[in-house]
Point group: none
DNA sequence: TGGAAAAGTTTCTTATAGGAAACACGGTCT
DNA sequence: AGACCGTGTTTCCTATAAGAAACTTTTCCA
């Protein structure tokens, strides 16, 4: 991407590319209130090594970093932050309440959000699930990827393979492997509204 | 968390499987129809090095792996997978309303959702934005990736680079390139609640 | 078939990652 | 103050990553 912005903060991001890793790891460790010794032990590495990594005095191996991410619960994608274009570079897409693109399937009635941005990777949509309509629930829904679900209103029960049915009410959320069979029904008097964000 | 924990338990202890990384990289390269030479050049590494990585004859540095992920468009979280195609394969993670993991930054007060599943690719969280608190808004927030935002309650204004400020109320949503500078303030009398889903 | 060019693998060498131990620094006891 | 932690840094050494070039295998066309 061409440098759209005259803002100098862009370069800061790039320049810090190298420093980024050490900084993140140090922050994560301190967040947990761990010493170098403790964190090192948790990750199975020496404290001197960890010190050098945090101070960017070394280029750790992937293996070491992976162990650290595990021990420190680091968000892995953030570690890969580096300069470069995104396919939706510099764009945004708004959908006002109720203005999404309707999509009705036999089983659900969806409202697709932010459909202008076709190249986006996540797919957000809101589903209205009819009250106590159990009839439809015959077979699992299954599609490769991951899914996040947030209950906006009403009460629903989420069924997933390998697990017990899960009763959810407004404000509750679930994250699951959508390759696992799943399905959702309303269990309240009113229709339930659920926000899904799907990622292939 | 709630009394009953249907959550995942991370007890998968890996048996030093380096096979995974090399295999994934080789697949990604062949997917693109590239030779070692071409892929190496794209990533800025030698073809011999790449060969050794693909055959798991070496433990590459994080730096090298990162360059490869970029050149080959690899899904970064998958690289951290221990065994099997996906770490969250056949799993789910629930967070009941208000039971997320608090994370306070200087600028925002977040509630991270579904944090048990550390290897997930999307990061959902709820932010409470204090009413009419404009003071904090000094510099853009910027992080590589994409972001989806849904206003749960209250009224907010989303600022993004290259665009005009955007007034949003409950039920509205936006999808944007989070590499673009952005920031959000509340414009209502009450605190606003916003759901974000972030993807690197 | 051959034999050349391309793709991939294996040396070989140099630079450096990673760990043990020594060092430095700051607190906190008596 | 001095001695003694606990924490983080630096030094030193060994193991090994990374690249260049030599070597092997595969591809492909006359």
């Amino acid at each position: 991407m061409e440098p759209v912005s005259p803002n100098t903060e862009d370069e800061i991001v790039e320049a810090n590319d190298l420093d980024h890793l050490g900084k993140m790891i140090r922050e994560a460790r301190q967040q947990k209130g761990w010493t170098l010794e403790e964190a090192g032990k948790a990750a199975g590495i020496g404290r001197s090594t960890l010190s050098k990594i945090e101070n960017n005095q070394t280029r750790p191996s992937f293996d070491i970093v992976r162990r650290l991410t595990k021990a420190l619960d680091l968000k892995t994608p953030q570690l890969f932050v580096q300069s470069g274009p995104s396919d939706i570079s510099g764009r945004r897409d708004v959908t006002m309440s109720g203005q999404g693109e309707p999509q009705d399937t036999p089983t659900y009635s969806h409202e697709l959000l932010c459909t202008e941005l076709t190249s986006k990777r996540m797919f957000p949509y809101i589903s209205t699930i009819k009250a106590r309509d159990v009839s439809e629930f015959e077979s699992w829904i299954r599609h490769r990827g991951e899914e996040f679900m947030y209950v906006i209103s009403g009460e629903v029960t989420l069924f997933t393979e390998h697990y017990r049915p899960l009763a959810l009410k407004a404000g509750d959320s679930v994250y699951y492997d959508s390759g696992m069979g799943h399905g959702c029904i309303s269990t309240s008097e009113e229709d339930a509204k659920v926000l899904w964000v799907s990622l292939e």
